[in-house]
């Protein structure tokens, strides 16, 4: 996974907001967050392949109390700034009248690949019968 994304997930999970990657199976209590790679934002092709890729990262936070807004937004934006620099924006703020939840949505961009890291080479076999 892109290093910036992995770092962002870790930073968000270190905040006071319960964060899940890609979604929750059951609705948490009042405040919760969801983070995940969303789609390819752009790529640079060359030598019959994609050389550089950028992905959109979506960070959603739902909370109920208006008084919590500054603290929640501050914590998420501090994590975004420390991991993505300036490559993020607050894409939308919504209030759901049905559930009475505030919904903040941030979109950021990370570069890298989503391929699995190369496995570590096998350790050299111990040489027997010597010494």
């Amino acid at each position: 996974m892109p290093d910036e994304y992995t770092a962002l997930v870790e930073a968000l999970q270190n905040t006071n907001i319960p964060f899940s990657e890609y979604g929750w199976k059951t609705r948490p209590e009042n405040t919760y967050g969801v983070v995940g790679l969303d789609m390819e934002a752009g790529s640079l092709a060359g030598s019959e392949g994609k050389q550089d890729r950028a992905f959109d990262v979506k960070v959603d936070v739902f909370f109920r109390k208006l008084a919590d807004m500054a603290e929640i937004a501050g914590a998420v934006e501090a994590a975004l700034s420390s991991c993505l620099g300036a490559c993020w924006e607050l894409n939308s703020i919504q209030y759901e009248t049905e559930t009475r939840l505030f919904h903040f949505e941030w979109i950021g961009q990370v570069t890298g690949t989503i391929t699995a890291p190369e496995p570590d080479p096998p350790a050299a076999e111990a040489q027997d019968g010597e010494g």
Binding site: R27, M39, K58, S92
Partner: protein
């Protein structure tokens, strides 16, 4: 031995450049109009691709928009805002702002709110970021269209000036 060079048409070029200076706003507007049209079409294409479902009750984070919600966006289409001209700079925006209201499940709802809820998702509806998809896929086409629009307008101005 000195060489001499003779060129024709420099006066015409000078005249054209002067004309373009005066009409920079019109040239930029012509280009932007083409680009905004391409982006509006791309948004409409993505709106048509929104998944919908009939539902009786909402499951946490699960449901898709209703057919009525999709139809509300399809009925108005993405609009192009009035061009904001400032000398040679021209700005506009494409989207659902000021798109009015639609009747959804017996309730009157603002269309921009419906678009925002589908695009960003809610606590009970999966996000379908049709707008961002349109921007990603339409950006290059829009830039190309802006270039074509500018070229066409410049050519038209050259013809007007007898070039």
């Amino acid at each position: 031995m000195p060489y001499t060079m003779k060129t024709d048409g420099l006066e015409d070029v000078e005249k054209l450049l002067t004309t373009l200076g005066d009409k920079a706003g019109a040239v930029a507007s012509a280009g932007l109009y083409e680009g905004a049209g391409v982006m509006a079409d791309e948004i409409q294409r993505q709106v048509n691709a929104i998944r919908t479902e009939e539902f009786r009750y909402t499951v946490f984070g699960q449901r898709s928009p209703s057919p009525e919600e999709k139809a509300a966006l399809q009925s108005v289409g993405a609009g192009i805002a009035k061009f904001d001209k400032n000398g040679g700079e021209v700005d506009t925006s494409v989207g659902f702002s000021n798109a009015g209201y639609a009747e959804v499940n017996g309730k009157r709802k603002p269309i921009p709110q419906i678009a925002n809820a589908i695009n960003s998702g809610t606590s009970f509806m999966k996000a379908q970021p049709f707008f961002r998809k349109a921007v990603h896929s339409g950006q290059r086409k829009a830039v190309e269209a802006i270039g074509r629009g500018i070229e066409d307008k410049v050519e038209a101005l050259i013809k007007e000036n007898g070039g």
